[in-house]
Symmetry: C3
């Protein structure tokens, strides 16, 4: 019953398998994220079956990134401050030292000078996964960047940039958009699920990065980790939208559905290309 | 079908027109706000049709306040810290330099010493709109102030103070309460929509300030901007309350309704006096 | 109709009485808490009938903790930073100086070095109530600690540690878990209400600490304050779960139910042992 996806680098059935492993392990996701989406990110992780922990001070971030349990680290630049950026640097160093996967979400890179420099500096530390919208990815590859957190470009437009970043930095690059594009520089996975209301709730992309960090903690295949997180969130979003009357109830239903979506449903419903 | 409001400085039909312009422009609202309401504020803006961006570090706040796209800046003193207040000063300077409208929300001014001084300092920089409850407005005009974020005074009691502040600072003063009072020092608009549950959800007033910043980005008439934001939120609140069973579901329904309320509905249902 | 609880240090009817007093006084709860749960904590307090105020800067925290109105202070170590910890110290000093009750929630104590030291330092200042999960309480009493914010121990396992901490620090210790254990070092109250979804929503424990601070502001019996807060939250959770389809709608329904649960319902439904 799994659709034929033999031509893609990851198969639909693999996504279901990753979700089963995620639920089994309940990965610890160490988040250094922004003040806007911290609660939402934690609730998305809890609903999906992970264990969130927000540790973003310089005294503990490096220590916590070294905790030897299944999991990953999320570094999100939504509302950076000097003290949280310092903690991010320590967390990245700790994660790299212990081989812990970490995800970089360069929110609004390209649109603002300081965070773009910080994003480039962190990217040079080789995250397992780089997740952003098309404007952010384009900017990190040398483009002009957007006006803020929303994207004015389509993922297709920055695919070459994404592949280039993936190859030069040894990372998986995940470009969110109507059709999500994920690449390790070589292979390409496109995921066609989702709903427009995903753009009317703050922090959905940020939470997606957190889910990717969790999946990267339960599979060594980082392209699969990025794809499984994307599939889980966007398939759940389709059902949540069907049950909702606007962006408020959609966000609530999304949490509910993230907690009930099964590995089998994910495999059957994700639209890979 | 629009009620006769010829005696008020803004007419009901103008509010609908402002909402149409708001939806058309999707104004960028640069928020420097507090850790309690940042997510809620972003979701209210997104639901209503604006584009929120929280940029509150000193490296970027001044730069971002100068971005030349339709929009406005919100400066909210809910949980001020030295580093965010420094960013607020830079954002205000950037906004004033480029003629970008900004809104000051002096949360708990009067009740606490430091923020009251900060609020007075920022007020002297002449925001387009000053929004607060009666205690806060009264305190900034020289009164005693309340015990915290909630108001113990009625807007009617501080109307003279509001008019005085508006005239001396060249700003529109919006005093929230059961009957919202908005004045540019000369004209007065009162809006009679709303629901008691608005006081049982944190950050509704803060989100109202953010909406005002968005409306001020699409109309030069700042009294209209404040009135349109107030009308949008309070009319939507009436419908949300009718569909809800308590403050939790009310907040969810409010986001849903903010996304569907039409310009025509706003014009027809707002109660101006 | 009140169950017989004559053998417990607090009786079911006392919890209802405390809730009536809470609703009557609408205690001011001064929260120094984390960026993940600040909004949720404020909304829980508002729904239950209290007045939240988040004041966590060093300029105002000590001043605000001295405000002479009914209420209490919450000190939560979820996302400590140097500047917020400094504010916590000032708030604790202000509260102790004026006899204002304060609650310590040592999030993730034991799992991370710095905050464990901070938690011990603050605990030595003798909070009215210390609230945590079994791992945190065990760690503060000398145990090893857990991996983060979730607990791997059961309250029963740390009961001796909780009693010891309560006696040596003159505090009530509340250990959250499937069966909540509350002790003043001598008496023990166990509360058997709740629902597993309480562990799938971030910040429920943090909000419980805030409710305890509010109840401690309306009764001098700190064991009763901790019990009333626990009973209110967990009884409401049972009804919320019955009306919900997952952790997202559960959180929404929990806020609704916190606003409607009566003193009588609390007394009749709380399961004390």
């Amino acid at each position: 019953m799994t659709p034929d996806t033999s031509s893609t680098p990851v198969r639909a059935g693999d996504l279901g398998g990753a979700l089963a492993a995620f639920r089994e392990a309940s990965p610890l996701v160490h988040c250094l994220t922004n003040i806007v989406v911290a609660q939402w990110t934690a609730n998305v992780l809890l609903a999906a079956g992970a264990a969130p922990a927000m540790v973003d001070n310089t005294h503990e971030a490096g220590e916590f990134a070294r905790v030897p349990v299944p999991g990953g680290v999320l570094v999100n630049l939504g509302t950076p401050q000097d003290h949280t950026v310092a903690a991010m640097r320590l967390a990245v160093a700790g994660a790299n030292e212990t081989g812990r996967p970490w995800v970089l979400d360069p929110v609004a890179a390209g649109g603002l000078g300081w965070r773009t420099a910080v994003a480039r500096e962190l990217l040079a530390q080789r995250p397992a996964i780089l997740r952003g919208n098309a404007s952010e990815i384009g900017a990190l590859a040398g483009g002009a960047g957007g006006r803020g957190v929303d994207s004015t470009d389509a993922p297709e437009q920055v695919l070459d940039a994404a592949r280039h970043l993936a190859r030069t930095h040894g990372t998986v690059v995940a470009v969110s958009g109507p059709l999500d594009h994920l690449t390790d520089g070589d292979g390409l996975v496109r995921i066609g699920n989702g709903h427009p209301w995903l753009t009317r709730v703050t922090g959905v992309g940020c939470a997606l990065g957190a889910l990717m960090a969790g999946f990267a903690g339960v599979t060594d295949d980082r392209l699969l980790a990025a794809a499984a997180a994307t599939g889980l969130l966007t398939v759940a979003a389709e059902d949540a939208a069907a049950a909702a009357s606007g962006p408020g109830s959609f966000a609530v239903m999304l949490l509910d559905r993230l907690s009930t979506l099964t590995a089998r449903e994910l495999s059957e419903r994700v639209r890979l290309s």
